[in-house]
């Protein structure tokens, strides 16, 4: 069993949104669910010409953080949200009652309602698709032209993600909430 995580070399992001498209294609996401499952946040350039603040024009790719201590899992009344054997936070649509508590409890705004199953859905690191086929990649990672994303097993010291996290500084989002996210932003 693995403990999957993702490191994002986010400063390399060029906001091409190929990851958003690949995610939709791979996981069959409905049209209209834009920026729901995975998204690239864009910082608009601040300041007046010629005193423009170029550091504000940054792109922030993001998605479910696959927290080790996920608030969404804790608040679910029926265990519809659960950790699978690989530490991926997933939703069992058969058990989801759509009380929307997880949507309110997730600090990362990473959940949405899938109109086909009428249950809550989210990024699952392509577990149903690529991981099930035996690949250890996600669609967003595979498609990224600037290799922003590094996906792999955090428990395997030889995996690329483990090596990167050993050699480069990183941060996680809203760490003060004690969620222990498994998405790492490389500095």
């Amino acid at each position: 069993m693995a403990r999957y995580g993702m490191a994002l070399d986010y400063k390399n992001c060029i906001n091409c949104k190929a990851c958003e498209v690949a995610c939709k294609e791979e996981n069959g996401i409905l049209l209209g669910a834009d920026a729901h499952r995975i998204w690239v946040g864009t910082g608009e350039i601040e300041g007046q010409y010629p005193l423009l603040d170029l550091t504000s024009n940054t792109f922030y790719p993001s998605q479910c953080q696959h927290c080790d201590d996920a608030p969404c899992e804790e608040v679910c009344p029926t265990h519809a949200t659960y950790y699978d054997d690989n530490g991926v936070v997933r939703v069992d649509p058969d058990k989801c009652i759509l009380c929307s508590y997880c949507m309110n409890a997730c600090p990362y705004d990473a959940r949405y309602v899938d109109d086909r199953t009428v249950t809550v859905d989210k990024c699952n690191f392509c577990t149903d698709t690529r991981l099930e086929r035996g690949e250890v990649t996600t669609a967003c990672q595979a498609t990224c032209p600037t290799k922003v994303r590094i996906f792999g097993d955090l428990d395997d010291p030889e995996s690329e993600i483990s090596q990167v996290l050993r050699t480069r500084e990183s941060r996680t989002l809203k760490s003060h909430l004690g969620t222990n996210p498994k998405l790492f932003y490389l500095l």
Binding site: V75, C76, S100
Partner: protein, 397 residues
């Protein structure tokens, strides 16, 4: 005595549909009857729209997943818990002055929670799945699980307590009443916990709501006691009713003062220090008219009416209780909406043309119809109950 025999000994009035439809045709009664029927019709229409369009018929969004129906559900279960507390004063705690309202209040607690369940059934996306998986896959770390499960148990105890009250078996009524009260308080504080546990929402997170819910439940119960008694006696209260209501008004003055104290300190601690996602939200709340509707209708007006002559103006308190219940509805709406006011944003700047500072929400007509339908259900069930059962106190010797 087996259960069948036990049930056959429950006293009730044999009434036909014709009896239920025959009431004094006063303008007030006619108005209430027409409104109740209209609300029930709205409920049917609202549910039909929901069943065909799902949550798209509601004003809820991904950013604001909880809407008016959650607020109305809370409104009803708060009413139920409050009536349970008021009903328990006499039959559980043995305060003789309050014995006369026990049966009526406990019956009120049953109809209000049934109305709450009727409303929430059309907010939860999969209520049948909920009934199944709540049992076979319980999420014990979830406040919603505890709240829902405990409320189910509470309803059972309330019904049993009511049956013993009808049979005038005060000893058994006390046992079941005390258990039901404790379960109800646990359920209700868990409902506060649903919000209190939201670490992602600093405005709601913390101990405040689980305790505040119990306080506001008691306040709501007293408002409803006044309203039920006002209709029962057509505002011409006898000596014992006046004595009880005056005492309740004094308790209410204390509770409202504590509530004002609580809310003031919540606002001060929220704003103090400028903590992100808490301070700015609290300041925004202070600028919203719904907050001031809550404060004026549910706190200031009733408190002033009581303090003018120390609760002796019982008729005035009936009207103040009407104002109070409208204010309590705003209170529930504010609680739900304010929790979700602050966008979590998460760097999703391009999701919006312009990043919103606040999440907007406007209840849809379907939500309003189902909500009013809940009121219709509560009023209708209560009215039928007044015909079916003797809700006045039995003479004790």
């Amino acid at each position: 005595m087996n259960i069948k025999e036990f049930i056959t000994t429950i006293p009730y009035n044999k009434v036909s549909v014709k009896d239920i439809l025959s009431f004094e045709r006063t303008p007030t009664n006619m108005l209430i009857a027409v409104m109740t029927l209209a609300f029930l019709a709205m409920f049917v229409v609202g549910v039909a729209i929901y069943l065909t369009h799902g949550h798209h018929a509601y004003g809820v969004t991904r950013e604001h997943p909880w809407g008016l129906l959650i607020a109305v559900y809370i409104f009803f279960v708060v009413s139920s818990t409050g009536l349970c507390i008021v009903g328990s004063l006499g039959d559980v705690f043995g305060f003789k002055d309050y014995m006369e309202i026990s049966k009526r209040a406990i019956f009120g607690s049953i109809v209000t929670i049934l109305a709450g369940f009727a409303v929430i059934a059309f907010e939860i996306g999969h209520p049948v799945t909920m009934l199944i998986y709540n049992v076979i896959s319980p999420g014990l770390t979830s406040a919603i699980w505890w709240m829902g499960t405990l409320y189910g148990i509470y309803l059972t105890f309330m019904i049993i307590e009511f049956v013993f009250l009808l049979k005038n078996d005060m000893k058994m009524a006390r046992y079941f009443g005390l258990t039901g009260l404790l379960v109800g308080l646990a359920a209700h504080s868990n409902l506060g916990g649903v919000f209190g546990f939201l670490n992602a929402r600093p405005i709601s997170n913390g101990v405040f709501y689980p305790t505040y819910f119990i306080l506001t439940a008691f306040i709501t119960g007293i408002f409803l006691a006044y309203i039920m008694y006002g209709f029962r006696y057509k505002l011409k209260f006898g000596e014992s009713a006046t004595k009880m209501l005056t005492n309740l008004a004094k308790i209410q003055a204390l509770l409202l003062s504590i509530l004002i104290f609580f809310v003031t300190w919540k606002m001060l601690t929220d704003i103090y220090g400028g903590m992100p996602a808490r301070s700015e939200v609290a300041i925004h709340i202070l600028g919203s008219w719904t907050f001031w509707a809550e404060v004026i209708l549910a706190m200031i007006i009733p408190l002033v009416i009581i303090l003018v002559d120390m609760g002796k103006n019982v008729v005035g308190m009936f009207w103040a209780s009407m104002s109070g219940m409208v204010g309590i509805m705003f209170m529930r709406y504010n609680l739900v909406h304010d929790t979700q006011l602050k966008p979590l944003q998460m760097l999703k700047k391009t999701e919006y043309q312009l990043a919103p500072q606040w999440i907007e929400y406007m209840p849809s007509s379907t939500e309003v119809m189902i909500s009013l339908g809940g009121v219709g259900i509560a009023v209708f069930l209560y009215y039928v109950g007044t015909r079916l059962f003797n809700l006045d106190a039995e003479e004790h010797h």
